[in-house]
Amino acid sequence: MSDAQCRAGDRAYAIRLARPDDLPQVVRLDVEITGIEKPDYWADIFGRYSCTGDENQPRASKTRRNRFFLCAADGDKVLGFIIGEIRAWEFGSPPCGWVFAIGVDQEARSAHIAQTLFEAVCDRFRKAGVTQVRTMLARDDTLVMSFFRSQGMMAGPFIQLEKDL
């Protein structure tokens, strides 16, 4: 998939696969959003999800083709990111797309960058043959929940449960 050119106000940006050298910028965005530094987590995510080659190459491994780490970038500047993957057969669920991280730079918000990232990852899910996308987020995270709802997402048939250990 070639890098799509998009506009947010005066700014032009492209949606492309995350590259290992995006790591510091994604880590910075995540710290700005969550206030928590987690270098090991991000090093692991970049190792498993970012791309060093062409996702369209037949040689790209099946795992790679089921994992999508996309960035919205204005040149070298990362404005936002989304990470998703295809998961299958968890408690009987047929393969579906999962989005488990999204973030847009404060300065670049409300310009539909997250929407463009979400549509881009959904396109990849569709191309990989799945017909549903899911996510899980904190119930009181109204901002992110409003975003996913604006994209047409509703509560699904699965429910998250937990207990103290």
């Binding site: 119930r139 009181d140 109204t142 929940m145 409003s146 709802r149 604006s150 047409g152 509560a155």
Partner: protein, 136 residues
């Protein structure tokens, strides 16, 4: 889950008007479409007017027009003008609340209410209108 009559009237009125902010409709026209009482709706529209969600247009052909912010007003904002969806734990005390059974029940009900609240708080009028359009 059931919403009170006034709340449903308010949601219908706001959604009807927000669907086209340039259009003005009388209480009668809205009431007729949703099969609700005009008197009841007129009262609800006055409450919505007080918080700036709708405005009355005076003169011949007058009526109401949407004057809020459809992308940033949520279903919860509208609902809370007419009823509360407070977590039970912070609401009134009921018989048996102090017993372990009452506390267990309260925990379960709170879980349900928290979900309802989060749902209403995350759906803007704009998002709701998109959902409504799926049924057209």
């Amino acid at each position: 889950m059931k919403l009170q009559k006034a709340t449903r009237c308010a949601l219908f009125a706001v959604l009807e008007l927000a669907a086209d902010p340039t259009r003005q409709l009388s209480a009668n026209e809205i009431a007729e479409k949703y099969g609700i009482s005009t008197n009841h709706l007129a009262k609800v529209l006055r409450s919505l007017g007080r918080v700036g969600l709708v405005e009355a247009v005076r003169g011949a052909g007058g009526g109401y027009r949407f004057s809020g912010h459809a992308r940033r007003t949520t279903l919860l904002d509208v609902i809370q003008l007419f009823e509360t969806i407070d977590p039970i734990a912070q609401g009134e005390r009921e018989d048996g609340d102090g017993t372990p059974e009452g506390q267990g029940l309260c925990r379960v009900l709170t879980e349900i209410e928290d979900t309802a609240r989060a749902t209403f708080a995350s759906i803007s009028l704009d998002t709701m209108l998109k959902l409504v359009s799926r049924y057209r």
